[in-house]
C-alpha cells in the first residue's frame, strides 16, 4: 500500500453531501437531538467538512511530539502496554498480602494499596469503631503493617502505587521499609495516587480533617522531597476521577482537573521549583464513563491542552515535562446492582475508551463493585478483562487507532473547547484553590450530578436493568465480605503491642521534629514535613499520631459542601 497525497477540496463533495442530507431527512422523519454528557451536540454524520487532513500537523502531529494528541510516547501501546493496576484493599495487612500476591499471579503487574476509610480520615485503628475497620480497605497504621502488606514482594521490582492521601503516610512507610530492607530509594517507583487534596476537599471528602492551607503545604513538601530523594516516584496524581464520580460531566471533570494541576504547578513554581524538574513527575487519574467516544475524545483533548499549558504558562522546555501521563478507572457510578454480570460488559467498553484515549495505567472495576468491595472471583474477571483487551483483541497493534476519524477529531475539538471554558471559569475565580474555597467547583459538580440523574429518571439516558429491560425478581443477593472479627481483634492487639514495644523517646523526638517542621515557614531548609514523616515512620510513629500532630500545627479543616 502506498500513501496517497491529500487532495482538498474534494470534487463533488457538496453535491453528494446535499443528496445524502435529503435522503437522510426523508427517511428519518423527525430526527432526535443527541447530546453527549458534556452537552456537545452530536450530528448523525461527520465528514471531511468537519475535520480534514489539512490540519494534521497543527492538531495531531506524531506520537510523542507536540501537540501530543496521538499519545505521549513514540511507541505507545505497541511498545509498552499499560500497567494493570488493580486497586485492592481489605481487612488486615495479612489479608492484603494474600490478595495482592494472587492478583500478581493472575497477571497484574503493579500495586495500588487502598487503605481503610479510617486511614483516609486520619485515624489509627484504636481511635474508631472496630465494626468499620478493614471493611473498605486495608488497615495500615505502622511501618510494620506495611512490611506485612508486601511480605514476599520485591518492592524495588514493581510499580508501587499507593492510594495514599495526605499526609502520605503510606509512602513514608514504604520508604522507611525500603531503608530497613536495604532497597535504595532510587529503585522505588510508583505514584502517590491520592495526593490531590483539592479534589478531596471539593469532591469526595476523604481527608484527614486538616485545614486547606495546611493541605497545600503538605503537598509541596511531598513533591519537593520526592523530587530530591526518590527520583522514580510520582508525588502528584491530579484526580479527575473524584470530580466525575462526584457529578461533573466528562468535559467539566477534565477542566477542573487541569485547573487543579495548574494550581499545583503554580504553587511549585512559587516554592522555587523548576517546571522542567517537577512536571515530568506530575500524573493524572481519571474516571472513564460508558460514554465511549466522549471519553476517548476527553483524553485526547486533555493531552493536547496540558502540553499547551505547560509550555505556554510554565515555560517548560523539556519534552518529558509535556507528557500527560494518566491512570484511569472504569466508572463505578455507571455500574448497576441489578443484573450485576452486565457490569463486565460495561467495564469492557469503558476500558476500551481509556485504551483508545492513550492511558498509561488502568483499573477495571469488578462486576460486583456496585454491591460490595470486590470478591476474589469478580476481581479475577476484572484482571482477565484487561488481559483480553491487552493481548487477545489486537487493540494495541496501532497507535491512536481512532485518530483521523472525522467524528473523533471533531469531537476532540469540541471537548477541547468545553474543557477550555471550564479552565477559563476557574482562572477567572483566581485559580482552583480560591475557587474551591468559594465553592465554585462544588456547584458545577452538583448541578451536573442532578442533571444526569434527571436524565436517568425520565428515561433519556438508558441504564439497562435499572430504567429499561428490568427483570422482575432478578435482584441478586447482595452479600458482603467482612474482615474476620478474630483476625481484626488480633491485629488491634498487635498494634497495641507495637506501640508498647517501640522506643518511646525516639517516638517523642520524631513527633517533635515533625511539629517543628510544620510550624516553620513553608520551604525552610531542613523543615520538610514529609521528610519528617518518613523519619517518624522509621521511628515507629503511627499514622494517627502523624495526622494528629499535623492537625495541631496546621489547623483542623472540614469539607465545604454545597447542596
Amino acid at each position: 500500500m502506498s500513501e496517497r497525497p491529500v487532495q482538498l477540496p474534494l470534487p463533488n463533495f457538496d453535491a453528494a453531501r446535499a443528496e445524502w442530507r435529503q435522503a437522510y431527512d426523508d427517511q428519518i422523519g423527525q430526527d432526535r437531538e443527541v447530546r453527549n454528557r458534556s452537552g456537545v451536540e452530536i450530528k448523525p454524520l461527520y465528514t471531511a467538512a468537519d475535520w480534514n487532513d489539512g490540519r494534521y500537523m497543527e492538531e495531531l502531529g506524531f506520537p510523542g511530539q507536540v501537540p501530543m494528541t496521538r499519545g505521549i510516547y513514540p511507541t505507545m501501546h505497541r511498545g509498552r502496554t499499560w500497567s494493570q493496576r488493580q486497586l485492592i484493599g481489605f481487612g488486615t495487612p495479612d489479608d492484603y498480602n494474600q490478595r495482592f500476591r494472587k492478583i500478581l499471579d493472575a497477571g497484574a503487574n503493579a500495586s495500588n494499596l487502598a487503605p481503610c476509610n479510617s486511614f483516609f480520615r486520619g485515624f489509627d485503628c484504636d481511635e474508631v469503631d472496630p465494626a468499620l475497620l478493614g471493611t473498605c480497605g486495608t488497615v495500615v497504621n505502622t511501618v510494620a503493617d506495611m512490611e506485612a502488606c508486601y511480605q514476599g514482594v520485591d518492592i524495588g521490582a514493581i510499580s508501587m502505587g499507593m492510594n495514599d492521601p495526605e499526609p502520605f503516610t503510606l509512602t513514608a512507610m514504604l520508604l522507611a521499609m525500603a531503608k530497613r530492607q536495604g532497597v535504595p530509594w532510587s529503585r522505588i517507583t510508583g505514584t502517590s495516587n491520592q495526593s490531590d487534596y483539592l479534589s478531596h476537599f471539593i469532591a469526595n471528602h476523604m481527608f484527614l480533617r486538616l485545614s486547606l492551607p495546611g493541605a497545600r503545604r503538605l503537598l509541596l513538601d511531598h513533591i519537593e522531597f520526592c523530587r530530591g530523594e526518590v527520583p522514580g516516584w510520582n508525588p502528584v496524581s491530579v484526580i479527575g476521577q473524584h470530580m466525575q464520580q462526584g457529578g461533573a460531566n466528562p468535559a467539566e471533570a477534565m477542566g477542573l482537573t487541569l485547573s487543579t494541576a495548574i494550581q499545583y504547578a503554580a504553587d511549585c513554581v512559587e516554592r522555587g521549583m523548576d517546571p522542567n524538574r517537577f512536571l515530568p513527575r506530575f500524573t493524572f487519574f481519571f474516571d472513564i464513563s460508558i460514554s465511549f467516544f466522549e471519553e476517548l475524545a476527553k483524553f485526547r483533548a486533555g493531552r493536547r491542552i496540558w502540553q499547551r499549558i505547560v509550555r505556554e504558562r510554565f515555560g517548560a522546555t523539556e519534552p518529558k515535562a509535556w507528557r500527560f501521563k494518566f491512570h484511569a478507572q472504569t466508572s463505578g457510578v455507571d455500574l448497576t446492582q441489578q443484573q450485576p454480570l452486565n457490569n463486565v460488559a460495561r467495564a469492557t467498553v469503558q476500558a476500551m475508551a481509556g485504551i483508545f484515549g492513550g492511558l498509561q495505567s488502568l483499573h477495571t472495576d469488578s462486576y460486583d463493585e456496585a454491591l460490595n468491595a470486590p470478591t476474589e472471583a469478580a476481581a479475577r474477571v476484572a484482571v482477565a478483562t484487561q488481559n483480553i483487551l491487552c493481548e487477545e483483541a489486537h487493540l494495541t497493534d496501532v497507535i491512536d487507532p481512532l485518530g483521523g476519524s472525522f467524528y473523533v477529531e471533531s469531537l476532540t475539538d469540541e471537548m477541547e473547547a468545553r474543557i477550555e471554558e471550564v479552565i477559563a471559569r476557574i482562572d477567572a475565580a483566581g485559580g482552583m484553590y480560591l475557587a474551591a474555597e468559594a465553592g465554585l467547583p462544588q456547584t458545577i459538580m452538583g448541578q451536573s450530578a442532578i442533571a444526569h440523574q434527571d436524565r436517568i429518571e425520565n428515561g433519556e439516558e438508558t441504564v439497562v436493568g435499572v430504567n429499561k429491560y428490568c427483570l422482575e425478581g432478578a435482584a441478586e443477593p447482595v452479600t458482603a465480605e467482612r474482615p474476620q472479627a478474630e483476625a481484626m481483634a488480633a491485629y488491634i492487639a498487635d498494634f497495641q503491642r507495637f506501640k508498647d514495644d517501640r522506643d518511646g523517646a525516639a517516638v517523642d523526638r520524631a513527633l517533635d521534629d515533625l511539629a517543628r517542621a510544620a510550624a516553620a515557614a513553608p520551604g525552610t531548609a531542613g523543615r520538610n514535613t514529609f521528610a519528617k514523616a518518613v523519619a517518624a515512620a522509621e521511628a515507629g510513629v503511627t499514622h494517627g499520631e502523624i495526622c494528629a500532630c499535623l492537625r495541631r500545627e496546621l489547623g483542623v479543616g472540614q469539607p465545604l459542601v454545597v447542596a
Binding site: N117, F120, L132, V478, A480, V561
Partner: protein, 138 residues
C-alpha cells in the same frame, strides 16, 4: 400536615462520597419538603443534637461504604434522647444481611441502588406523616 415534612439528610462514619445524598436532598426539596443537609463526617451525637434542634420527622442516612453498620447505635441514641418517633431511612449499598439487622434495629426503610425519585419521595413523605402522628400521640 400543616407544615411540610422535615427531613435531615446526613452521612455518619468515615465515608465522604455525597453525590447520592446531594441528589436525594434536592429531590426531597423539589417535592416540597424541608431539608436539613449536613454533609458527611457526622457523629451519632451530632445527628441526635441536630434532630432535636431541628425537630425533624425523618433522618435519611446515606451509606456507600459500610457506615450503616453504625445505625443501630444511632437508633439507640435517638430512643435515649426521647426521639423514638423519628423515622430513620438509609440509602446506598446495604447488603441483604445488614438490611435485615437494620430492620430489627428499627430502621424504617432501606433504599437500594436503582430506587427511583418517585419511590424515595413517596416513601419519605409517608414516613414523615407517620412520624408526626406518632409524635402527636406521644
Amino acid at each position: 400536615m400543616s407544615q411540610p415534612p422535615k427531613i435531615l439528610v446526613t452521612k455518619i462514619g468515615f465515608d465522604g462520597h455525597d453525590r447520592g445524598s446531594r441528589i436525594v436532598a434536592a429531590y426531597l426539596r423539589d417535592a416540597g419538603m424541608e431539608v436539613v443537609y449536613t454533609g458527611p463526617w457526622q457523629s451519632i451525637d451530632d445527628v441526635v443534637t441536630l434532630a432535636t434542634q431541628e425537630d425533624v420527622d425523618v433522618i435519611g442516612v446515606s451509606s456507600l461504604a459500610t457506615d450503616h453498620l453504625l445505625l443501630p447505635k444511632l437508633m439507640d441514641a435517638l430512643r435515649a434522647a426521647d426521639l423514638g418517633h423519628i423515622k430513620v431511612v438509609v440509602g446506598g449499598i446495604v447488603p441483604d444481611a445488614d438490611a435485615e439487622s437494620l430492620a430489627s434495629a428499627g430502621v424504617a426503610r432501606v433504599f437500594h441502588p436503582g430506587s427511583t425519585r418517585e419511590d424515595i419521595v413517596g416513601d419519605v413523605g409517608d414516613l414523615a406523616r407517620e412520624a408526626r402522628a406518632g409524635n402527636a400521640v406521644a
